[in-house]
């Protein structure tokens, strides 16, 4: 009996010691794991939706934008990591085929997935198509490239990280006027972007004493030879001295490639907006030679002398071997704006993000420059560069030769 009591006592003692050792060991090893898990649990991943034109009319730049989007999300995550912030972002990219219907479908799909911030769509007509759904479902839309002045509406869920064309039309009118041209035919896409740009250009150019004749073309066609032939007769009958082309990249390249062979159109000056800038077709010698010979010039929104843009450009060129296409830097910055707005909002809620975004943009300076927004949610300050196509070291390149800033035009080099 005495032995039994002793054995039981030893057993209890053993159990107590065992439990103590076990607890200690758990605290030492398992407890550590719990802390890591806690940290991991604390890291929240937010999804950012991208509605990009991976197919359709704008696919030539859309595919490059896709690369920019992934690059930006990657860089944003690295930044969060370096700041020891527990937020990560994931890109969900959908193709909108450069159509309004698919852009709307994409935003609806994002809404179903609980995604509150969408970057894109690209074209103004597409942004217009998604606007009412985004407003009523509190989805923040940040378009890197929609420029139609008609979409400058205060207090909605549409933000545009680029200046409205009301401003660019002014810059382009000043450029054409500066070149001593008094009468032009404006040849423009008959969509939201083209129509608004052409109207604003006409107003601005006529205010400077010029005369502008408007001629639109259906933007969804394969080829524009027939339209170019009509443009040629229009230029001749109106006695215009130049053509102002408001196009995207592929349609613009097609139009220029036909115009180069036209006896009337190949002899006059041509000007353009930003839509065609960066298109690789224009750099092919057969077209570039002609563009160089007629001093083809255009305007494009940029932030002048921005070292961050140069850094971005270099990185992009290393990745793809080509120049970043138009609006790439705006898209890159749009991702950072979205990310920081989510962080600032403190909650993944559309309304909170919408309220946080202008404040974030006010303090954000990126590859596209200072992103401060105006009361319409559009970029408040935008400079424009004057670009042309020139031979540099035996190769044709897009070259910025001047600037339009604060209402004045300055040439930094000869065309």
């Amino acid at each position: 009996m005495a032995l039994d009591t002793k054995a039981i006592g030893l057993l209890i003692l053993g159990l107590i010691i065992g439990a103590a050792i076990g607890y200690g060991a758990t605290a030492f090893t398992g407890g550590g794991q719990a802390t890591t898990q806690e940290e991991e649990q604390k890291t929240v991943t937010y999804k950012i939706g991208f509605s990009l034109p991976l197919s359709g009319q704008l696919s030539s730049i859309g595919k490059l934008w896709e690369k920019v989007a992934y690059m930006a999300v990657d860089d944003l995550n690295k930044m969060m990591e370096s700041y020891h912030l527990p937020y990560r972002f994931e890109a969900v990219v959908l193709d909108d085929g450069t159509t309004e219907e698919k852009a709307l479908q994409n935003v609806q799909t994002f809404a179903q997935q609980g995604i509150k911030v969408v970057i894109g769509p690209a074209a103004s007509s597409q942004v217009k198509a998604v606007k009412s759904f985004a407003d009523s479902n509190h989805i923040v839309i940040i378009s890197p490239s929609s420029t139609a002045p008609t979409l400058a509406i205060p207090n909605d869920y549409i933000f545009r990280n680029t200046g409205s064309d009301a401003l660019q039309a002014k810059a382009l009118a000043a450029l054409v006027n500066h070149e001593g041209i008094k009468k032009v035919v404006v040849f423009y896409r008959d969509d939201e972007y083209g129509t608004a740009f052409a109207d604003f250009f006409k107003r601005e150019f006529e205010a400077l004493g010029g005369q502008a004749v408007l001629l639109s073309y259906a933007s969804n066609l394969a080829d524009f030879a027939s339209e170019v032939a009509s443009l040629s007769s229009k230029v001749q009958s109106e006695g215009a001295e130049a053509v102002v082309l408001i196009s995207f990249d592929t349609d613009g390249a097609n139009i220029l490639s036909h115009a180069k062979d036209d006896p009337v159109l190949s002899q006059i000056r041509w000007f353009s907006g930003e839509g065609i800038h960066g298109a690789s077709e224009l750099l092919q010698p057969s077209l570039a030679e002609w563009l160089d010979s007629i001093d083809f010039m255009g305007t494009r929104p940029v932030f002048i002398s921005n070292p961050l843009y140069e850094e971005f450009k270099k990185k992009f060129e290393e990745l793809t071997g080509t120049d970043p296409p138009v609006f790439s830097e705006k898209l890159y910055d749009a991702v950072f704006l979205a990310g920081w707005a989510i962080v600032r909002a403190g909650t993944y809620d559309g309304e909170a993000i919408k309220n946080a975004l202008p404040e974030v943009a006010k303090h954000f300076y990126g590859a596209s420059g200072w992103c401060i927004l105006d009361e319409n949610g559009d970029r408040a300050f935008q400079d424009y560069s004057i670009w042309t196509i020139k031979q540099v070291d035996g190769e044709y390149k897009y070259v910025d030769i001047g600037t339009y800033s604060g209402g004045s035009l300055t040439f930094t080099e000869n065309p």
């Binding site: 969804n220 592929t250 690789s280 057969s286």
Partner: protein, 315 residues
């Protein structure tokens, strides 16, 4: 004012349309299937000449030969892997047409995927390429410059049409193709090897359509993966104007559509200020008028209609 450029455009565009639409009518007439992969043959042809130009192979005739082989091979592959197995399982033409619709979408995104990879290899934007190729030089005739690409187009389309005519009318296999088109069951009973003849017909259709793609690329000069999609409505309209039956009427349809797209729009624009953006509308107006005059399938009457009329008249 209708100028020289409108007329030259009508000729070049019309010939390219013709070369693209002829094989569509041929394959429909033989199989009664509207093949949506036709769109891909155009894109394939256009990209053949564009990509060869990018890598420095700038002979347009080599590009046409390569496009013919590629388009033909793809058409035979579709027939062997998809259409024929479906047909053997008793699927009707509607099912096969839907399958071709699926194939079209599959190929289209495959092209996007391949071009995306090529982008990295070639270090240039392959999604929008300016055609750079060489054939005949441009010629100046009485102050009018005739573009080299137009001369290439005329030569190529004459060769293609003549070859197609000779194959269909003067060879045994051409006779066999016509026999299958007229009555498939009777043709098989007469000992015509249906499978082989159909494969040849598909090779011819796919190949010619791809050559048409090259010609369209010479006209359009900018090539994107959407090039086939963007003109297919016009091409289907042309085939329907030809009643999906008559090759001659298909050729006429090609010039009706290109004339509408170049000359009619220019005249209406000058005379009544009709916006240039009405161009696609005019094409479909022409199509509608033709169909209303010759229902249900346009100027050729269409196979089903012909049979129905004959059937009714026998009763």
């Amino acid at each position: 004012m209708v100028g020289v450029s409108e007329i030259l455009n009508t000729v070049q565009m019309g010939l390219a349309y013709m070369v693209i639409a002829l094989p569509l009518t041929l394959s429909y007439r033989v199989t009664q299937v509207i093949n949506f992969v036709h769109i891909i043959f155009i894109t394939l042809g256009a990209y053949t000449v564009a990509l060869l130009g990018l890598v420095g192979l700038t002979n347009v005739w080599i590009a046409m030969g390569a496009a013919f082989l590629l388009g033909g091979a793809l058409a035979v592959l579709d027939n062997v892997a998809v259409f024929e197995p479906l047909w053997r399982r008793g699927s009707d033409v509607l099912i096969i047409m839907v399958a071709s619709l699926g194939l079209w979408i599959f190929y289209k995104y495959l092209i996007y995927a391949v071009l995306d990879k090529l982008f990295i290899v070639l270090r240039t934007n392959t999604l929008s390429v300016l055609v750079h190729t060489e054939g005949f030089p441009s010629v100046s005739l009485g102050g009018i410059t005739i573009d080299g690409y137009l001369i290439d187009t005329v030569v190529a389309s004459v060769i293609v049409s003549l070859a197609l005519y000779l194959i269909l009318m003067r060879t045994r296999i051409g006779k066999a193709i016509r026999a299958i088109a007229d009555n498939q069951v009777l043709a098989e009973i007469s000992g015509i090897p249906r499978g082989r003849v159909l494969n040849f017909m598909w090779f011819l259709s796919g190949g010619i359509a791809a050559v048409g793609g090259v010609l369209w690329a010479l006209f359009q000069t900018t090539v994107t993966p959407e090039i086939g999609d963007q003109i297919i409505l016009q091409v289907f309209s042309i085939a329907v104007i030809g009643g999906l039956y008559s090759l001659t009427k298909t050729a006429i349809g090609a010039f009706i559509v290109s004339g509408t797209e170049n000359i009619v729009i220019a005249v209406l624009h000058d005379a009544f200020g009709l916006p240039l953006s009405f161009r696609p509308f005019l094409v479909f107006l022409v199509l509608l008028v033709v169909i209303l005059i010759w229902p249900p399938l346009g100027a050729g009457g269409g196979l089903p209609y012909r049979f129905r009329v004959r059937h009714r008249s026998r009763r």
